[in-house]
């Protein structure tokens, strides 16, 4: 669900000064531009104002349980994936829902007006774009539509940075979510770092309008072909793969596998994997009270299936063991998500592998469970 109908992609070239023009045009239109930046020894999304804020020359090396920032690359989008995804903006870690206020009648509820921030995401990876579409199904399927998410999502302007390199924990190729996005974006960039230019793909009329105002030249056919070739190159570099053939079905009969106990011996039940995953959506609610006691707030905040509270019902926790929690997490991603939403809950971004302190690898575990089948 992106605003405006998708037109046939048209291709332009974009220079670095033009990318700056694009960023200021978005700012002028009232967007808060979010893009990759160099944060605490990692690439993180943050507010950006110009190309100077982008992680030029930086890349990252990711492996199971490890992440290293390196300063030996060429280009603005030479890294693999930022630590977090667009989820932290569209489905934020903490969201105020409403306020209850005491009055002479008892109390009344003041709903928050739907969030009105208009984000422009610059440099979303194709897998992250798919992750947004996956969360759309969770929050925007009638009859229950999450109003804050809807407002943020409809307003968001999406600029993808197509992947021309893949990392050691990436497996989007297996999941069919990358390395190149073919739609669902307003604009998509493929970087040509040696020439400091980008191939620009236009995905929507509003993307078209903003590009027309900058006046980018039409891209020559060979540039489009070269971009495709670079994307295909990334497809060959995937550090991980996952055979998805019949996978949901086979995992569906793995509930009693001994493998879960084996994983549980390593898993710390820390929930990192769920926090960094761009599709994980679980939340809890939190009630806050003012000092005087006449205001009570309701907040929604990220939760994780690795906590004991998540499955608590009076009389006990349903998922007591780490094995049962890891089973819930992996089977939700790769098996039950299909039944719930008609697609996989994993886009193959590799974050859960990279950010797991003990390096548990979802592709390896899924494969082992399948073999035990």
């Amino acid at each position: 669900m992106s605003a405006g109908t998708t037109t046939a992609p048209t291709y332009r070239t974009l220079t670095v000064p033009q990318l700056d023009q694009l960023l200021s045009a978005l700012c002028k239109e009232g967007y808060l531009t979010i893009g990759p930046t160099v944060g605490d020894a990692a690439i993180v999304y943050d507010e950006i104002r110009s190309t100077k804020d982008l992680p030029r020359g930086y890349t990252d090396e990711q492996e199971a349980g490890s992440y290293r920032l390196r300063e030996n690359a060429q280009g603005y989008f030479a890294y693999i994936t930022p630590v977090q995804s667009a989820k932290q903006y569209l489905h934020p870690p903490r969201q105020h829902l409403w306020e209850a206020v005491k009055d002479s009648e008892g109390f009344h509820i003041l709903p928050d007006p739907p969030a009105n921030t208009r984000y422009a995401f610059v440099g979303l990876r194709p897998c992250e774009l798919r992750a947004i579409e996956i969360q759309d199904r969770v929050f925007l399927t009638e009859p229950f539509v999450a109003q804050h998410y809807k407002a943020l999502r409809q307003a968001a302007f999406l600029i993808v940075a197509q992947c021309t390199r893949a990392g050691a924990t990436c497996f989007c190729q297996s999941m069919g979510t990358g390395p190149a996005a073919r739609g669902g974006f307003d604009l998509a960039l493929t970087e040509f770092p040696e020439e400091a230019t980008f191939l620009l793909e236009i995905g929507t009329p509003r993307g078209q309008a903003i590009v027309d105002a900058i006046g980018c030249a039409e891209a020559p056919e060979e540039m489009v072909e070269q971009a495709r070739a670079r994307q295909s190159q990334a497809a060959l570099q995937m550090g991980r793969r996952l055979d998805t053939e019949e996978l949901p079905k086979q995992l569906g009969s793995s509930y009693s596998s001994g493998r879960w106990e084996q994983i549980a011996r390593r898993c710390l039940s820390c929930g990192n994997c769920t926090m960094v995953c761009p599709t994980c959506f679980c939340t809890n609610v939190e009630d806050t009270a003012s000092l005087t006691g006449d205001h009570a707030g309701r907040w929604q905040r990220w939760d994780s299936c690795f906590t004991s509270e998540l499955s608590y019902i009076h009389g006990g926790v349903v998922r007591k063991s780490t094995a049962s929690r890891y089973r819930q997490w992996l089977l939700h991603k790769l098996c039950t998500w299909h039944e719930q939403f008609g697609e996989s809950g994993c886009v193959g971004c590799g974050r859960c592998i990279t950010w797991c302190p003990v390096g548990i690898d979802i592709t390896e575990e899924a494969q082992a469970l399948r073999q035990a089948h």
Partner: protein
């Protein structure tokens, strides 16, 4: 071109409650009480038997509670609640005239319509009688459309028996069988002692043409299903209501999942074969 977000026409946020006023709040037993509520905006809360709402107590939190009133009288919203923790305690403390936030109704319903032409067996354990009562009301309103009707109910002790007056009334009807049992007897109790599922064998119904509706602790439901199928009731004729932690009731929070099912949307009432396999595995 700007995306159009028409805030004015967007439906109410599904996470925002409506306000209801407490008409009555009375104790059924030492730890159970019944809230009778009325919508401040005057719009009745139409519901189907088996559905639940999310009840919000000011500053304390929100919990899923089944509607236990009569669906043909939606002007008064009835809930019977067992006090077990902070929110159910806070709801108990709301006096007549006080306000409670209500969202809903949510979830699937008992198959009352489908049960027409059949015998109907209700099996309730503890507070599980509350979610079944709306279905029982509906069956009794249209009594002639059903075959035999039986209510089998188990409570912990005689003092924990809910809806005593109504049980007496139902028991005195000639067109239904009412059996009550307790886990632990007390002085003066002359009824059954033992688990409710044992009553199934002493109940008259035609297994081939019976719809069973079962609500109670998960173990009790498993035993009830075993007894019922032992009598020849097909699993497809058995319906159960499940409970999981719920923070949203609309599919957003992920807490209520049982395998592929969101209990808040796909349940709480399931036809048994839908959940049979997962209920047999621990810690799903």
């Amino acid at each position: 071109m700007q995306p159009s977000i028409d805030v004015s026409s967007s439906p109410a946020d599904p996470m925002t409650p409506r306000m209801f006023r407490v008409l009555r709040n009375y104790n059924d037993t030492a730890d159970c009480y019944t809230l009778s509520l009325q919508a401040e905006d005057g719009d009745p809360l139409l519901f189907a038997p088996g559905q639940f709402t999310m009840l919000y107590a000011f500053g304390r939190g929100e919990v899923p509670i089944s509607i236990s009133g009569d669906p043909s009288d939606p002007g008064t919203l009835i809930h019977t609640i067992r006090e077990v923790g902070p929110v159910t305690q806070a709801l108990r403390e709301v006096k007549k005239g006080g306000l409670i936030g209500v969202r809903g109704p949510y979830g699937t319903a008992w198959p009352v319509k489908e049960a027409e032409g059949n015998d109907v067996v209700f099996v309730a354990g503890g507070i599980g009688l509350a979610p079944l009562r709306p279905a029982l009301y509906q069956v009794l309103h249209r009594r002639s459309r059903f075959g035999k009707v039986a209510l089998l109910y188990g409570a912990r002790t005689p003092n924990d028996i809910l809806y005593r007056d109504e049980l007496e009334k139902w028991r005195s009807r000639f067109d239904m069988q009412v059996e009550v049992t307790v886990d632990r007897s007390q002085a003066g109790w002359r009824g059954h002692v033992g688990v409710v599922t044992r009553l199934i064998s002493r109940t008259g119904f035609d297994p081939v043409n019976t719809i069973a509706m079962v609500c109670g602790p998960e173990v009790m439901m498993r035993f009830a299903v075993a007894e019922l199928t032992g009598r020849g009731v097909a699993q497809e004729q058995i319906h159960v209501s499940l409970e999981r932690n719920m923070k949203c009731a609309v599919g957003f929070c992920g807490h209520c999942q049982l395998g592929p099912a969101f209990i808040c949307k796909d349940g709480p009432v399931f036809v048994f074969p839908e959940v049979k396999r997962l209920l047999s595995i621990r810690e799903v």
